[in-house]
Symmetry: C2
Subunit: 189 residues, 2 copies
């Protein structure tokens, strides 16, 4: 699976959206609390409103950083910028949220939402769809409260991920990762 | 996929352990930072040391809570207690950790580790293996520092998940989840 940052304008079938959401809800969660909520946004006007917030926040944080990056890294971030600046053109955005009354508020709560997001994304990939996991609008310092207001999300719900969903445009190379040995420690560090 | 809490004593082949770790490192991470580290523990003595800490912490927090639970919920938690009390009997435990120098320290860092854990677990399932995702020893309030000392984990590494891995013992029913409609909101809350 790859992170997809270029999408066709073709809409995503309702059945497929339902299937990827079903897959998300089959993930494990602490004490089977199922503390997730998924907000599916397809209306262009609503997507544009979200885009305005997350694009502004992205550029505020990243524009200066990008200047100083080596070319390869800069290209990756420019592709990320291009996606956030065209959020409204992506057929579906899904906000994966946590119900804090079910998850608790400490950091362990994230163990009960990101596995479900990965399930959603691998299910999408298996259906020929592409996704991109982002944390746009997922912290109060970067527009979360504005996004919540646009989508009428209540106070006790925390936005954890903003996932783009659609049919991939163009060919994708395999993911680039360092060799496994760099990450694995046997019996201890 | 189900959370597996009863494992056969059969060892897990090295090749399979390598494959599930490969799958983990194919997940997305913020800016392709690949901030994960995986500590694979199979030695009984080491597993026993970890067990002592996480089992003590688990019972300290949960014993009173369990008393007041309805029977079905109590059974789930007793099965979880049984697993943590027999950590050393599970063939492999894998600690999925975050390198904070790569991930940053704010809560968004978890978006760069739990998707990889889910990849690890689905890969394991596809190989006939079972897993259980836990957060034992994953917070300073619940023994993280002791676990880190046992496994010589440096200061800048945060434990995010403790995953059990082995061949499942016994038959598993499908996961029990509420209907999708309870979790999905279209265009807004």
């Amino acid at each position: 699976m790859r992170a997809v940052r270029n999408f066709k304008s073709d809409p995503v079938e309702d059945d497929k959206v339902r299937l990827v959401l079903e897959a998300a809800t089959k993930a494990a969660s602490g004490g089977n609390s199922q503390p997730w909520a998924f907000i599916v946004v397809r209306g262009r006007e609503r997507k544009l409103q979200v885009q305005k917030v997350i694009s502004r926040e992205w550029h505020k944080e990243m524009d200066v950083e990008i200047e100083g990056m080596p070319p390869k890294r800069r290209r990756m971030y420019q592709s990320a910028a291009n996606l956030v600046d065209h959020t409204a053109d992506v057929p579906v955005i899904i906000l994966a949220c946590l119900d804090l009354t079910k998850s608790g508020r400490d950091e362990l709560k994230y163990a009960s939402i990101y596995p479900s997001v990965q399930n959603l994304m691998t299910a999408a990939w298996s259906l020929g769809l592409g996704t991109c996991l982002t944390t746009h609008g997922c912290s109060p310092e970067h527009g979360e409260n504005e996004v919540k207001e646009i989508l009428s999300i209540p106070e006790h719900i925390k936005v954890a991920a903003l996932v783009y969903l659609g049919y991939p445009e163009g060919a994708l190379s395999p993911p680039k990762r360092r060799a496994l040995a760099a990450f694995v420690h046997n019996e201890g560090w």
